[in-house]
């Protein structure tokens, strides 16, 4: 195998990306403007106390000019493996797996990068004379993608040619389509999709928007089943992943890596990983990523108009409008080859875009939760997903130590309405009504309820034939926040629905000032406050 030089991005930013981002950490003083907080499908302007810090996301890096060329280069000179062309032979079984709709958020503008990469791969495959090609959406226990979503992901041409018999969703509950690949040395079961396990070559097309994605997690988890996912999606593993965004220190990734080694031994995998910049807001709204103090008058007026309109809109219209928006992401890198070296480069790229160095933890961390997470694309952010978003993702967007100190308070802004999408999240309703009504302790929930939900026949049927998340999925959402639940002293939602917050076990306040007062009871007088100004996505490199 030849190791080709890494590609594309300016070297200067590679080594210490985080440190040079000191301009991203801003201190609030007397004359600072109010801060933008996302609150679901609305916006809030909150005043933060003088002396608090705001951590802003880094500005988006410039993307590749010629994406196709980059893809070709990556496929021709992969890292740690032979070029793709040499791996393709006529009559072989080729399976292409790709990330499902939970990435990227919000969805990319067309053409989706996955489609572009797949087209390149298919072109080479046809040239090599491969005919048995299947495309699988690697969604593990997420919901199946609708035909429209599949079309968007792989592109119209590929869709027309391959759907529905050769382009389909991974079905983790189909016993005929699963093979057991054994166990890792820690006793974790490894099961994989049969088609993927029996292929001569498995190509995985991945998008990395956070450093949690990619690597061994792509295949071992994406094409796995409940039994294999159970090994690392449990409370213990989650609590010892500090944090998800730091694969070196994450128990979750360790476990996934062990499983990935076994999978790699069974089937050759050609990983293609792409990274995006964090250019999340389209056109006239791109100022939402900028610090408020830098907004021009025009941008302030635009924001005011946006806020007033969204405040007054009918909730359903508002939700439709928000979920229709797309992000003008640019590709900042394409790597291909063996999983180890490829993922290292990917993580470098991600750090280059997203890492911000922050010195010192804070007593209180505030954040505004957006309207969309990985699990409610085109759907509703129900209370459990809100908890996952806040305590699972936003809390864990750090490397090093958490941004909030142990026993500190996190304050989120989100309406937390008790609304559930009946088609996508049926098991969440029962989780909310049955399980959360009894207890909110993740350990107890795992012990008492997880098994029955995972093996429920109705949920299984809905997962397999309809567009519903697997019955056990709400549990994983809850475990995602287990580390946060353990670490924090209190969680307060500003503007949240009282009933829903009470069910989740959190407190609520009407205004930020009330929330700060409530938080002061927990952390003491004159706390230090840091606002995590996310989205756009980034993470904090925190040093205690």
């Amino acid at each position: 195998m030849s190791i080709a030089p890494t590609r594309m991005i300016e070297r200067t930013k590679r080594r210490q990306p985080a440190v040079e981002r000191e301009a991203c950490v801003v201190e609030v003083h007397e004359h600072s403007p109010p801060t933008l907080f996302h609150s679901g499908e609305q916006f809030r302007l909150e005043r933060l106390p003088v002396g608090s810090r705001i951590v802003y996301p880094p500005p988006p890096l410039k993307g590749l000019i010629d994406v196709d060329a980059a893809i070709c280069a990556a496929l021709d000179s992969p890292l740690g493996m032979d070029p793709l062309d040499s791996l393709l032979r006529p009559g072989m079984k080729l399976t292409i797996a790709f990330d499902d709709i939970s990435l990227p958020l919000p969805p990319m503008k067309l053409p989706d990068i996955r489609g572009r990469v797949i087209e390149h791969v298919l072109e080479r495959a046809y040239r090599a004379g491969v005919e048995d090609i299947h495309l699988i959406a690697a969604l593990a226990l997420h919901r199946r993608m609708t035909p429209a979503e599949l079309k968007r992901a792989v592109g119209a041409r590929v869709f027309d040619e391959f759907y529905p018999d050769r382009l389909y969703n991974h079905d983790a509950e189909d016993p005929t389509e699963i093979v057991d690949l054994g166990q890792t040395r820690h006793g974790e079961a490894v099961e994989l999709s049969k088609r993927a396990a029996e292929s001569d070559l498995l190509v995985y097309v991945n998008i990395n928007i956070v450093s949690m994605d990619g690597g061994h997690k792509s295949v071992a988890v994406g094409l796995g089943t409940y039994n294999s996912v159970k090994a690392h999606h449990n409370v213990h593993t989650m609590r010892h992943s500090k944090s998800f965004m730091d694969p070196n220190k994450s128990e979750l990734h360790n476990s996934a890596n062990r499983q990935g080694d076994i999978v790699e031994a069974a089937v050759p995998i050609f990983h293609i990983e792409t990274t995006l910049n964090n250019d999340m807001f389209d056109g006239p709204l791109s100022f939402l990523a900028k610090p408020e103090a830098r907004w021009t008058a025009r941008e302030q007026t635009t924001f005011a108009a946006l806020k007033r309109t969204t405040d007054r809109m009918h909730p359903k219209l508002r939700r439709a409008a928000f979920h229709k928006s797309t992000a003008p992401y640019s590709i900042t890198g394409v790597q291909a080859g063996a999983v180890g070296p490829v993922h290292e480069v990917t993580l470098d790229h991600v750090a280059a875009q997203q890492a911000v160095y922050v010195k010192g933890q804070a007593d209180i961390v505030t954040a505004g939760l957006p309207y969309v997470g990985p699990y409610n694309v085109d759907s509703i952010l129900n209370p459990i997903l809100v908890m996952c978003m806040g305590l699972g993702y936003f809390f864990n967007l750090y490397q090093g130590v958490p941004l909030v100190r142990e026993g500190g308070v996190m304050i989120f802004t989100h309406p937390v309405t008790r609304e559930f999408h009946p088609v996508h999240h049926p098991s969440y309703v029962d989780f909310y009504e049955e399980v959360l009504a009894t207890t909110t302790d993740p350990v107890e929930i795992e012990a008492r309820f997880e098994k029955s939900y995972a093996e429920d026949e109705w949920y299984r049927h809905l997962y397999r034939t309809s567009y519903a998340y697997h019955g056990v999925h709400p549990f994983y959402m809850w475990y995602w926040g287990a580390h946060g639940l353990q670490h924090l002293g209190d969680v307060i939602f500003v503007g949240g629905n009282a009933e829903a917050c009470r069910r989740l076990g959190f407190r609520r306040a009407d205004t930020m000032r009330d929330a700060l007062e409530m938080a002061e009871q927990v952390v003491g007088r004159d706390p230090s406050l840091t606002h995590f100004h996310c989205p756009p996505l980034f993470y904090a490199q925190v040093e205690a």
């Binding site: 309703v429 026949e457 049927h461």
Partner: protein, 738 residues
């Protein structure tokens, strides 16, 4: 009679004697028994009771007010029924106190005569047959004198001035003949039509057998009503206010003809709660004026009554009557003696006074209404009976028209309207009934002479005056009504305020452990919030462009009212007619489209509580069965939810639906039979099974199982459910968010 006080205590007078007491399970009987046990330890008591006498003595009688805490061991019991021949009594009876009677004002004449008129003589004959010739004390009623004006003398019936002659046997024969006639008439077509129409209006969609049962109940009630009315009319024609007074008068006459050794007839007026013993305010059930007072206090009858406010109303506390009986027992007379135990002569009390006191009491201490807030009572208005009747008739006709309208037109929110109409109708019926029954008492302008009773009282040994006193002069009406009687009524009528409850209510979940059973769920309205018509609309409009969809929906909307009316009438007929719409539709295409039903139609309309409940049943090990009138290919995904799904099937021919169902639609009693068959197949007891339904078409099924639940019921089903105390639950969907 002697006017000097005695020198012998009553206890000594009755020592060693045996008293046979009938009617000890009744109000007056219990009071007498209590006094016997408490004050006369040397007297033996024998009770005559229906049914298992000893058990009734221990469970009912000795546990209630007057006998509480007293030793019942020297009481002997005999089982027997005074309404029938063939009584057997022990020998050695010295005194018979006959309190047993039926005191209902709404009884058919033949029943009243059997018990009240023939009862005393039967009793006396049975005692004589056993060998004793006792002193007979007959408790009659002051109103056995008939509807008199002015002074009512203490003379037994038949000997007072201007009384008609009565032939007991003739009256009894006539009354029995009426029963036969009216029973026969009730089975004639014109009445049967009426009953069936009324039953259909109430529970039509529940199917044939249910309607038949209801019609039969209505017929029985009608027969009873007719007999009661005829009896009442006959009694009024003869000069008594109702069958009670007439039968008591006949009872007196009959017992006189039997010539007992000594005979005393005690005639109490209206017997109400006790004044002293066992405690002030002891009462058991509601007597004459009590329903009126309570209804007035609760605001469920308006304060209008057809009565004359200045006439006296004669109320006497029950312990006074009991004491009078026992004092009479201690002084056997030489010839027939009658006592009027009443207050009208010495301590009069008019209806106006009663009304004023009632108003005052309920203004100071109002009753809570159904929301817990105090009811504000209006002033009493006394008008003539005729006035009231016309008003009632008018209101009745308005209500009847309203109900007809609701049946014919499909109005929105019909549940609320129906509820209001129903409540008003009940109010009116209540008022009509009360007015009808108590009209004579509001016009009875007489005073009961109580000279004999007074003489008996004067006869008492001074030590006995306290124990066995019945001096009506000592009753202070303000105190009695306002502080004794009305609070006692209130205690009976108003339950004590509940203590603080926890906010999380215990759900009506099935018990975790239990024998294996079936759980039957109706799908429409219980598991899915949709109907057969929704399914159809979705199926037809699936791939229509928007404009066409609007046009088609508008066209369908015109047919909806007729569908609703037909559904109200009979779910089966509605299903059959509705499925005709599927005629000539391509079968394969529809089936293919129905494959998308799960995410597009079923999931948004699922009621999650139903899914959770199904899961619980499965956890218990029950077999979950879904019954629906929707088509089988539409509800196919639900097979993964439950163990069995019974759905409708359309006949296909040449790839097209013919619009005909393969089997009769599964509604009403069809579901009940299916449930019975399934229970038999799986060897399960229906008493353990659960059923969940939402409309009257499920009524037979719900009646069949041991654990029925009404989910989101409409008005008629909720009325049935409330009547039978079935749990009613409200389940919702998550549809609003999408």
């Amino acid at each position: 009679m002697l006017a000097l006080p005695d020198d012998v205590l009553i206890q000594q007078r009755l020592a060693g004697q045996t008293v046979l007491l009938t009617g000890a399970s009744g109000f007056l009987g219990k009071a007498v028994l209590g006094q016997l046990l408490r004050e006369l330890p040397d007297t033996r008591v024998i009770l005559l009771l229906r049914g298992d006498a000893q058990q009734r003595l221990e469970n009912e009688i000795l546990t209630s007010g007057p006998c509480e805490g007293l030793d019942g061991s020297r009481v002997q019991t005999v089982s027997g029924d005074l309404g029938r021949e063939g009584l057997e009594l022990p020998a050695g009876i010295d005194v018979v106190i006959h309190c047993a009677a039926s005191v209902s004002f709404e009884q058919p004449l033949d029943e009243a005569l059997e018990l009240n008129a023939k009862g005393p003589s039967r009793l006396l004959e049975a005692v004589r047959a056993a060998g004793s010739d006792p002193y007979f004390i007959h408790v009659s009623t002051a109103y056995a004198a008939g509807m008199r004006t002015g002074l009512v003398l203490e003379k037994p019936s038949g000997t007072a001035p201007t009384e008609p002659w009565l032939d007991l046997n003739a009256e009894l024969d006539a009354a029995q003949a009426w029963r036969k006639d009216i029973e026969a008439e009730s089975r004639l077509p014109q009445h049967q039509h009426r009953f069936v129409a009324e039953a259909t209006r109430a529970i039509g969609p529940a199917g044939g057998p249910a309607v038949g049962t209801r019609a039969e109940i209505l017929r029985y009630e009608w027969v009873r009503e007719q007999l009661t009315e005829r009896g009442r009319e006959r009694a009024r024609a003869l000069g008594w206010s109702d069958t009670y007074g007439l039968s008591k008068a006949l009872g007196e006459r009959t017992i006189i003809t039997k010539n007992p050794k000594h005979l005393t007839i005690v005639r109490p007026a209206i017997v109400e709660s006790a004044l002293h013993t066992p405690y002030a305010g002891w009462m058991e059930s509601l007597k004459v004026a009590d329903p009126i007072m309570l209804g007035y206090g609760a605001g469920i009858i308006p304060g209008r009554f057809g009565a004359n406010r200045s006439i006296r109303i004669d109320i006497i506390p029950v312990d006074f009557v009991a004491n009078a009986c026992l004092v009479a027992a201690a002084h056997p007379p030489d010839e027939v003696r009658v006592f009027n135990v009443s207050t009208g002569m010495r301590n009069p009390f008019t209806i106006h006074d009663l009304a004023e006191m009632t108003t005052r009491y309920f203004r100071e201490r109002p009753l809570p209404d159904e929301d817990g807030l105090p009811v504000s009572v209006p002033e009493w208005r006394f008008t003539s009976a005729g006035n009231i009747l016309t008003k009632i008739e008018r209101a009745n006709s308005v209500l009847a028209k309203g109900r007809e309208l609701v049946d014919k037109l499909p109005i929105p929110r019909s549940n609320d309207v129906e509820l209001r109409l129903h409540k008003n109708q009940r109010k009116l019926d209540r008022l009509k009934r009360l007015n009808e029954i108590y009209r004579p008492y509001g016009e009875l302008d007489c005073v009961f002479d109580d000279r004999n009773a007074r003489a008996l009282l004067d006869n008492l040994h001074p030590d006995d005056r306290e124990r066995f006193g019945f001096d009506v002069d000592e009753i202070d009406w303000d105190h009695y009504i306002g502080e004794v009687h009305l609070p006692a009524l209130r205690k009976i009528a108003v339950p004590p305020a509940p203590g603080p409850k926890k906010t999380r209510s215990a759900g009506r979940r099935p018990a975790p452990e239990g024998p294996p059973a079936l759980a039957l769920f109706d799908v429409e309205g219980v598991v899915l919030d949709s109907t057969v018509a929704h399914f159809y609309a979705w199926l037809r409009t699936r791939d229509m462009p928007e404009l066409d969809k609007l046009v088609w929906t508008a066209g369908a909307a015109t047919k909806v009212p007729s569908w609703i009316i037909e559904d109200r009438r009979s779910r089966t007929a509605f299903n059959r007619n509705f499925y005709k719409l599927y005629k000539d539709l391509p079968a394969r295409e529809l089936k293919r489209q129905a494959e998308e039903a799960l995410p597009d139609f079923i999931q948004p309309r699922i009621q999650n509580e139903a899914v959770r409940r199904i899961r619980e049943h499965k956890r218990r090990g029950d077999r979950v069965i879904l019954i629906t009138s929707a088509l089988d290919f539409l509800v196919e995904p639900l097979q993964h939810l439950a163990d069995e799904v019974h759905a409708a099937k359309l006949i296909e021919r040449v790839g097209r639906f013919t619009g005909e169902l393969a089997e009769p639609p599964l509604t009403a009693d069809g579901r009940a039979s299916l449930a019975a068959r399934l229970a038999a197949d799986h060897d399960v007891d229906l008493k353990d099974c659960h059923a969940y339904g939402d409309s009257l078409a499920d009524l037979p099924l719900l009646e069949l199982v041991g654990h029925p639940h009404a989910i989101n019921p409409d008005f008629r089903l909720s009325r049935e459910a409330r009547r039978r105390r079935w749990p009613i639950e409200t389940w919702g969907t998550e549809r609003a968010a999408v």
